[in-house]
Symmetry: C2
């Protein structure tokens, strides 16, 4: 019995555990859409812009710990999604991009949408393949899944020409993806780490990725308690478990001078699946390197090795596999009073976020105080903009809610940030996702006003401000949110925000709360 | 006297006639923003998403006949703008992309926003250069301008590391861009074209780019009238002059079978700065090639040659340089009655569009009838989505209005199309641009419903429709437009649309009219 390429591709995804496809298709992907519709287990979710699609796949992968597929329309559709693929790659999120291409025979012509899809995909992909024979499509799909779905996630881009998608094959055999077994730390490195942890020197363990939650984080906590080492994590990471009862980890501050101060006491740093910390941007006359002079560095595991396994062995070698660890106490702020500020909003959030909520933080300057204020809130996961490309927050919240339908997703968004992929609000409504967006409205790219001074320019002139402020007109977020079909409320005092946020946490479904904060605060 | 790189770059742009910069900057571009602010003649215009920035630069270049600069934040910011750069490249619009990059010394580290900017730019650029010495920045800028600003426009991407932007140089000399002189048709080819035009065979001249307006179009009309040849243009072109008093040109239809029918009588086609027509997409079992079997083809000029000059010489050789040409008569439809449909909306548009208005058409199925119905309307320019990447219309309208502040811009948009770069509405309000957006609301990717059947899939199943319809919820365009700060009105009958559109044409400033049309029509 024959089957067309599109249906074989979907079967291959499903039989390898890929069961969600976020998409924004075009004509060349119509057979793939039909195949999604005819593959019962495959969930197809529409985004009205491709950055929503790829950002959602990133959020999904971070929480589901397995890849979603994306469906993108040729080179330009891929390009529209590339910024959030960049963020996903930096998050080490597995992702399978299914990218349409013209039928192979059509590529000899200079039609309007012709583009070099492989060249566009390559800077953002760990694996790129164009399938040119429908009989190889299942194998190519399985190879892409294996490439994406290693111990650390990778970006696999599978380009499917329209004629491969519509051609029939008699070879309906579905290929299973090979399981990638990652290696872990060598015994010699493990011994060295044990030596370092036993020394008199002030030592930090810099952990990332899968070491930031679950059993791996607990093992890191046991090692830290037993040895006196400090646990550090990068400023921007994919996902960390935080809050009451979890192991505290010091997040390296964003601004280089704060980071340098936070790191100045360390004489030794052990990198576990993480990189040497460097500043986010360069600033005139300031070093990018953040560790103190003379600080020794060792790499226990590289980022593509099995770091949780290394922590487990380290804990075992230190005989603390069942040991105690310092857990953050439950600490809830008082009910805030007065005007709504980033700090008072954060207090309300900390007070009401339910256990195992998922916080997607792209609030930039406005959500900055929320990180410390929520440290003793109910246990939760916190997700950041790993690649620094803004427009990731709302889409990632979509993906988190799809991956974890029984957990509350809290999306902290700046108004400037939200605009890049504002179309995500529609998908939240369309899929009735349990997401509360806190939209900080300060009508400014406030971070750029700060950064302009920090890079050595004086405070922005009036003409420069025209490129840094979202005023004239101010965006009306009640209207924008309503336009996308979401319930919306607006808070201008701490008391209003407290009431609205508490109510949102007790309810189900998507909604947006405008937190009106001054850009002067 | 020393000057920093950013200010030198802006001076070089200004002294070479580049006086508008559409931008969405980040930290690494703060010195460039400061330099825009301190360069009196440079106009800086903010877009809240990079696709707005690049699409605006495309629209600007099509109407101003010279490049704008864009200011983009590193690789991901460039990627966000790439789809509209693709459209601009296909429009042969000149464009100078100024793309930030980390300071050179910072690139040794794996910071979150590190990316291979050159690799991201290359698939969408004709010229790519990273400046690595501030003393070369003016020369590199001039080279980029020369690359962009030839006889046909090109995409030049100049990557400016932050330290090049902030470093001082004592060499403040501004380099002038060299003028590119394009060659034109050889005498031999001109003789051949004259032979073909004098033959008994049914002959078409397929013209594009700068041959579609002004004196070149008039010359084409003279040649056509004198020889009986038919003037053709591609389905998607950058800009064509149309309406009463202009030379009629037959636009090749979009659907392959319609195109084949339109072209079947031609025995000879002379390509003048244009390519052989092929179908937009491939369809199973249908040829991409649209010309009839046995049709002879000659290329008088390639796309990067001076085609208007070739037409001028051809007219001179045929002794019709001052000859008559067939001009489209003025033909205005009657006041439409009854429900609002794409046809009745088109009739209202044709009746009221002022002379020399600029129509940016991304209405897809909904604006389809407007093309023929406006053929006898007041003289105007019509712009299309040259690269087929949707999300070009609203940004291009911004650019047109900036380039031509005294001309009315009419943006015909589908609701699905508008969502890709909906942020453009804010820039229209922010810059108080004289744009009337006609937003056709059918709550569907209607073209994909059509295409799904055309590619051989049956009509979309309910589950497939979930990826093709923008329902559940329907977008509320009154709210969305209000949210962006634009006046909005809504028409559900032909009489309402007639009144609202007439009023918009008589007024100044940005506004949006929702044309509620059924997707069933």
């Amino acid at each position: 019995m024959s089957i067309n390429g599109s249906k074989l591709l979907m079967k291959t995804l499903i039989e390898n555990g890929v069961e969600v496809c976020f998409g924004n298709p075009g004509t060349s992907e119509m057979h793939l859409v039909d195949a999604i519709a005819k593959t019962d287990q495959m969930k197809g979710i529409l985004g009205l812009f491709e950055g929503v699609v790829t950002g959602a796949a990133d959020g999904y992968a971070r929480m589901a710990r397995k890849p979603a597929a994306t469906l993108l329309h040729l080179g330009p559709g891929l390009a529209n999604g590339a910024a959030n693929i960049h963020n996903a790659q930096r998050a080490r999120s597995p992702m399978i991009n299914i990218i349409g291409q013209h039928a192979l025979d059509h590529l000899q012509y200079e039609s309007p949408l012709k583009s070099d899809v492989e060249a566009i995909a390559s800077p953002f992909s760990d694996h790129v393949k164009t399938t040119t024979d429908v009989n190889e499509l299942s194998a190519d799909t399985a190879t892409a899944i294996a490439a994406a779905n290693g111990v650390v996630g990778k970006i696999a881009s599978l380009i499917v020409p329209a004629d491969i998608a519509w051609s029939e094959t008699d070879n309906a055999k579905v290929v299973k993806a090979t399981q990638v077994i990652a290696d872990t730390a060598s015994n010699a490195l493990l011994e060295q780490a044990i030596d370092w942890l036993g020394s008199e020197k002030t030592t930090a363990l810099l952990i990332d990725d899968a070491c930031l939650f679950g059993e791996a984080l607990v093992n890191a906590g046991r090692i830290a308690r037993a040895t006196g080492a400090t646990l550090l994590c990068p400023t921007f990471y994919a996902r960390a478990q935080r809050g009451a009862g979890t192991v505290p980890v010091l997040r390296i501050p964003y601004f280089a001078e704060d980071a340098t101060a936070a790191l100045e006491s360390f004489q030794q740093v052990i990198l576990i699946g993480s990189r040497v910390p460097v500043s986010f941007f360069a600033y005139p006359g300031k070093p990018s390197w953040l560790l103190p002079d003379g600080c020794d560095i060792m790499t226990l595991t590289e980022q593509d090795q099995d770091s949780p396994q290394a922590l487990k062995r380290l804990a075992a070698a230190l005989k603390v596999s069942a040991g105690d660890y310092d857990a953050h106490p439950s600490q809830l702020p008082e009910v805030p009073q007065g005007p709504l500020t980033p700090e008072s909003a954060a207090a309300c959030i900390a007070r009401h976020m339910p256990v195992d909520s998922i916080v997607v933080d792209e609030g930039i300057t406005s959500s900055f105080p929320a990180y410390s204020i929520t440290a003793g809130a109910a246990r939760h996961d916190w997700l950041t903009v790993t690649g620094g490309s803004i427009g990731q927050g709302l889409p990632a919240a979509v993906g988190c809610a799809v991956a974890c339908p029984n957990r509350k997703v809290i999306s902290l968004e700046g108004d400037g940030s939200a605009m890049y992929t504002v179309q995500a609000l529609w998908t939240m409504a369309n899929q009735d996702l349990d997401i509360t967006v806190v939209l900080y409205a300060n009508h400014s790219y406030k971070i750029l006003n700060v950064e302009m001074i920090r890079v050595g320019v004086e405070a922005p002139s009036p003409k420069a401000s025209e490129m840094l402020e979202i005023e004239g007109p101010c965006l009306d977020w009640v209207a924008l949110t309503t336009g996308m079909g979401l319930p919306v409320s607006e808070a201008t005092t701490a008391a209003e925000f407290e009431e609205q946020f508490a109510k949102a946490m007790a309810a189900k479904g998507p909604q947006l709360i405008i937190a009106t904060v001054s850009k002067e605060l």
